[in-house]
Subunit: 343 residues, 2 copies
Amino acid sequence: MAPKARNVTQREIARIAGVSQTTVSMVLNDRDGSNVRIPEATRERVKRAIEQSTYVADPAARRLAGLDNQIMGVFTYEAALSPESMDFYGPLLNGLERAAEQVGCDLLFFTSSPVEDGTRSLFHRKTRLRLADGCILLGQQMDGDDLKRLVDEEFPFVAVGRRDETTAKVPYVGIDYVSLTAELIARAAELGHREALYVHRGRNSPTARDRLQEIHTSNASGGPRFTLVDGVDTIVEDLARTGATLVFAEDAFLAEDVALALGKAGTVVPEQVSLTALGEVRGHRVNGHPLSGFQVPRQQVAAEALNLLQQLITTPSDEWAGLDTQLLLAGQLELGETLVGRA
Amino acid sequence: MAPKARNVTQREIARIAGVSQTTVSMVLNDRDGSNVRIPEATRERVKRAIEQSTYVADPAARRLAGLDNQIMGVFTYEAALSPESMDFYGPLLNGLERAAEQVGCDLLFFTSSPVEDGTRSLFHRKTRLRLADGCILLGQQMDGDDLKRLVDEEFPFVAVGRRDETTAKVPYVGIDYVSLTAELIARAAELGHREALYVHRGRNSPTARDRLQEIHTSNASGGPRFTLVDGVDTIVEDLARTGATLVFAEDAFLAEDVALALGKAGTVVPEQVSLTALGEVRGHRVNGHPLSGFQVPRQQVAAEALNLLQQLITTPSDEWAGLDTQLLLAGQLELGETLVGRA
DNA sequence: GCGAGACGCTAATACGTATTTTCAGATCAC
DNA sequence: GTGATCTGAAAATACGTATTAGCGTCTCGC
C-alpha cells in the first residue's frame, strides 16, 4: 500500500505536551479516579495540544483495544440500492439511516460478500462482519445456518422480519402479519365472502408462512374458504372453477398482476370480484381504485431493529436472556376500495 | 451456552496446529520467501485447523497492521436514504453499490457525523473516516476546507460532481454540464429563440456555476439573450416584461414548478412558450409532454468515482500526480417535446 | 522523624495481525 | 572437521489506543 502520510497519534500529542501517551488517553476519555489523577493544568495543556493538531482517534485501534466503535453492519441478502429493490428496502434503509443518526453510529454495508446462487453469503473467508459492533440483517429469505451461527457466536445482530429458519432464538423486529391477515379475513367474512383464492409466489419466507397459516386457519374453522394458487397464469380458470368472489394476493405487485390478468379476461375489479393485497399498499391503485390491504410501519421496524441492536451491544451477552429480543410491530388495515361486499 | 464465545484468533489456531502465530499468519497470506519457508505438510496442518474452526481475520487488527481492508467510506452532506433525496442520490448509490460489488469492497456510510446548520460535518473529534481505505463524497455543495484538508492529508478520496470550492486539486468525477448547456443553447438558437429566461435556485454549487457560465457566454456572444430569475414567484411578469419565448430551468423539478406557475396564468407549455430543464429529465412530463433537457449517466459517474478511488488507494500518494483524477463524463441531450420552434 | 496516605504521573501490558529478525539444527563445501 | 549455507520455524516488534499496576514525591498525623 501507499506510504501514507503518517497520522497524528496520541504519542505525538504526548511529545508536544510533554506528557506520556497514557496521560493523553486519560485526558481524551475524561478518566479520573483514585489511582489516576490529572490536575486541571496538565489537562489543559494536553487539550490545547490536541486542538492545535489534527488529531483524531484511530477507530481500528480503539476497536482492537476492545471498545465499541458505533459501527453497525448492514447485510442484505440481495442488492439493496438498486431501483427495483427500493420499493422493499427503501423505507427500511431510510428508517435505519435516521435511527443511526440519532444513535450516532455509522452503517457498514457488506456489499462485498460474494454472490452465490443469487444471494449473498454472510460467512466467507474474508468476511468483514466483525469490523462492526453488530449487524442488521435484511432480506425476505435468510439462511438458517447463518442465523444459528451468529447466535452461537454471540455476535450481536438483529434480523428484520420474523424469523423461524432455525430453532435458535434469533433476535428480530418484524410486523405482525398473522393478526393483520386474521383481521382482513374477518373483514372479508363480514362482507359476505365465502369462497376465495389466495394467490402467492413460490417463496417460502416466514412472513409468507404467517399469512398462509391464517389462510389455513380460516379453511379449518369455517371462515371463508381459500384455494391456493401459485402465480397468476391460471387465475381466470381458478376463479371460474371455484366460484370465488374474492382474491387475496400475497403483495401489492402480485395484486396488480392479478387485476391485469382478470381484466384481459373481461373480469373487472372490484365490480365483479374483490381484490386485496396482504402487504403494504400505499401508492398502489387498481383500475383507479386504491388497493385494499395493509399499512405496515417499515421505517419504524428498521428503527426499532437498530435500537434493539444497540441494546444488545451495550448489554453483556450473559444478560441477553433477560431482554425482549423478538418484537412484532402492529400494522393496520388499509380498507381501500377494492374489497367490497359480495357481488 | 454460558461460556463466552471468545473469538477465534490466530493464536488459537496456532495452539491447535502446534505451531506459532507467525506461521498461521504466513499460511493465511501465502507468504513464502527466502526468509520464511513452510513445507507443504505444515501448511496443510494449519489449513485444516482453520477449516475446522470458525476463524475469520479481525479487520481492525489488519488495518492497524497497515493493510487495506477494501472498505470505502461514503460521506453525504445530507441524508442520503430519505425518500426525498432518493431522486438525486438513488442512481448514485445504485452505481456505487454495483461498483463496490465488482471491486469487492464494503461501503461505510458515515451516518453518525453530527448535523450542524443543516449539513453534516466531515471532520469531528470522533470521526471514523480513517477506518475506511478511502472515501467517496456526495452532495450538491461541499465544504472547501474539508476538501483542502483531505488533499493536504493525502487521504484518498473522490468527490462526485465537479469541484471548485478550493484551489487544491480535488479528485472528482462529474458530468460535463458546460458542454450540455452549450449544446442546448445552440439548439434553442436553431429553433429561432432570441429572448429567454433562466430560472435558477439560490444555490451556489459548481454545477450551477457551470450552467450559468454558458448562459453568460450566450449573452456576451450574441446567442439567445437570457434574463436571470431566482425562483418562480415572478415568472409570469418576467416573461411578459422580456417577451421571452423560452424558459430554461435549472432542473426538472424547477421546470415543473415553472409550468405550474405559467399554467395558472393561462400560459401553456409548449404551445405558447418552450420549457427546458438543464438537468436529468427522465420520467418528467409537463402537460403530458416529455420534458426537454438532459440525460446524465449518474450510475456511471458513481461507478467511475469508485474505480478512481480504488486507483488512488492502490497507488502510492507520491505518484498521484501522474493520474488523471478529474473526470467529466458526457451526458446527452434529451430533446423531449417541450422545446419547440419559436411560437 | 517516620509510617500512611494522597498526589501526579508513567511503565507495562493487552488487543490481533503482519513483518522482520533471529535461531537451532541439518547439510554442504573444501 | 569446520566454517558456510540452507531449512523450518519462532521470537521480537510494530501498528494506536485503553487500562492496570506501580513508582517517586509530598504532606499529614502523632
